[in-house]
């Protein structure tokens, strides 16, 4: 059913091994897949019907429950369609690619459940929103962005990266996988834009590749995350930490980008207005 899922990779050239199975949404293909998956004549369709009933009755379902359910559903589908590892035509990414398509089928149908999870983290996110209210007024320089990497206009600086970050939000994004890929794209976009700004500021610079390092990347990420005005990051972090295995969260590009975002949220939460008057004097 899904042997060609790795072929459509034109938009995800920045993804490392852990997400090499990833493919952008193909609506036509997804619809066909969902017809198969939701068909009540098959075991998977009946399992999903039972799950939806459980979802309606039990509002205390967690992200971990969803994750486990999707994992077992993927295993069942692969077993029933004879796409398991003992078959000669088995390919390494069968599981992840199928799992992604199943997630794209189930998550949009479980918006209410996801909203419940978001609500459970609302207390922290309300605090974050309060931080956002005054921090969004801070300039790139005040947030510690190197002068040579600042965009010409505050309102349009790093616009593409900010747009990517907006689309990462749990309520908007199709699945956690799409969300993490969006985040990686955002960091990649920051690198590209920062390089362009750098060469605008320093036209005689020779090194065209490496401009952004650990010291300079973080303040830009902070700026972009703040400007994205997304305020449900604690819910997002909770969902990701309960959905993905640690290899995704702490290793590779996905782990790096996830950690960047986590550190950003922690940093934003720890700041007070007085920090910025002292920071700009001593630390830039």
């Amino acid at each position: 059913t899904n042997t060609n899922t790795n072929t459509n990779t034109n938009t995800n050239t920045n993804i490392d091994d852990a997400f090499s199975y990833f493919h952008p949404l193909d609506n036509g293909f997804q619809v066909l897949f969902e017809q198969l998956l939701l068909d009540p004549r098959f075991e998977e369709g009946r399992i999903i019907t039972k799950w939806k009933d459980l979802e309606k009755k039990n509002k205390n379902l967690t992200m971990r429950n969803i994750s486990r359910f999707l994992y077992h559903l993927t295993q069942t589908l692969l077993k029933n369609t004879e796409l398991t590892s003992d078959k000669p035509y088995f390919q390494p990414h069968f599981f992840e690619a199928t799992h992604l398509m199943i997630c794209r089928c189930i998550f949009p149908r479980s918006k209410e459940l996801v909203q419940c999870i978001v609500t459970k983290n609302s207390e922290k996110d309300i605090s974050y929103s309060k931080q956002l209210a005054w921090m969004s007024e801070l300039t790139q320089e005040q947030l510690g962005v190197d002068a040579r990497l600042c965009g010409p206009k505050h309102s349009t600086a790093y616009a593409q990266a900010i747009q990517h970050i907006k689309e990462v939000e749990i309520g908007i994004c199709l699945t956690p996988q799409d969300s993490v890929i969006g985040l990686i794209e955002a960091v990649h976009s920051i690198q590209k834009t920062a390089t362009a700004y750098y060469h605008d500021h320093c036209p005689n610079a020779q090194d065209k590749d490496i401009v952004v390092n650990g010291d300079t990347l973080f303040p830009i990420v902070v700026f972009c995350v703040i400007q994205s005005t997304v305020h449900t990051w604690h819910a997002w972090l909770h969902c990701m930490e309960n959905f993905f295995r640690k290899e995704i969260l702490y290793f590779g590009q996905s782990g790096f980008c996830f950690t960047l975002l986590k550190a950003t949220i922690s940093y934003v939460m720890s700041r007070t207005p007085s920090h910025f008057t002292s920071d700009t004097k001593t630390d830039t």
């Binding site: 990649h188 090194d207 401009v211 390092n213 300079t216 290793f251 590009q253 782990g255 550190a263």
Partner: protein, 187 residues
């Protein structure tokens, strides 16, 4: 004969801003280093660290000690680079006689105000390299802030500018008190 066994290690670079963290990683991954080039943003280029390619010597799994020795240019190193293309995250694959080691190197923000965020970065890391300016008087104090929170093997790299020698220090937390041994290598 080489086998297909591949080890993957996460390596975290810690240290103050503008001490040469990015120079280390760029030299290791891309083979580029210029003492005077303005290759990194964040401060004036300093000449306190000149990095040689480093290659794993052996892994002692029992003690969780991963030793790294700095060697001169090794042509066998593959120049595989992350597509993220930022010095903050790079990968390098090093083929050895009996295995292949893939490093993923995370560069962290070194500014004082971000120090509290460092533990998030070194979760799951096999090793950390703390880079510092050996001529700085406050270095001992700052090292102690890192080592208090690190629970794994640490490798400190530094250079004595006056004698043109390189040192690397191993801190092994296996010992209750921890001990530091030093080795000297020639530049």
């Amino acid at each position: 004969m080489s086998s297909n066994k591949t080890f993957q290690f996460k390596l975290v670079l810690l240290g103050d801003t503008s001490v040469g963290k990015s120079s280390i990683v760029i030299r290791f991954v891309k083979g580029q280093f210029s003492e005077f080039q303005e290759s990194t943003i964040g401060g004036k280029p300093k000449s306190l660290i000149v990095v040689y390619y480093f290659q794993p010597l052996y892994e002692n799994a029992e003690n969780k000690i991963f030793m790294i020795v700095f060697l001169k240019r090794n042509n066998k190193i593959l120049s595989k680079q992350s597509n993220l293309n930022t010095a903050a995250f790079l990968t390098q694959t090093v083929p050895l006689n009996d295995c292949t080691v893939k490093f993923e190197i995370w560069d962290t923000a070194g500014q004082e105000r971000y120090h509290s965020l460092a533990p998030m970065y070194y979760r799951g890391a096999a090793a950390a390299i703390i880079v510092y300016d050996i001529t700085s008087q406050v270095i001992i104090l700052k090292l102690s802030t890192y080592t208090k929170s690190l629970f794994f093997f640490l490798l400190f790299l530094c250079k004595n500018n006056k004698k043109d020698e390189f040192f690397f220090f191993f801190y092994v937390p296996k010992n209750e008190k921890g001990y530091i041994c030093t080795r000297k290598i020639m530049g």
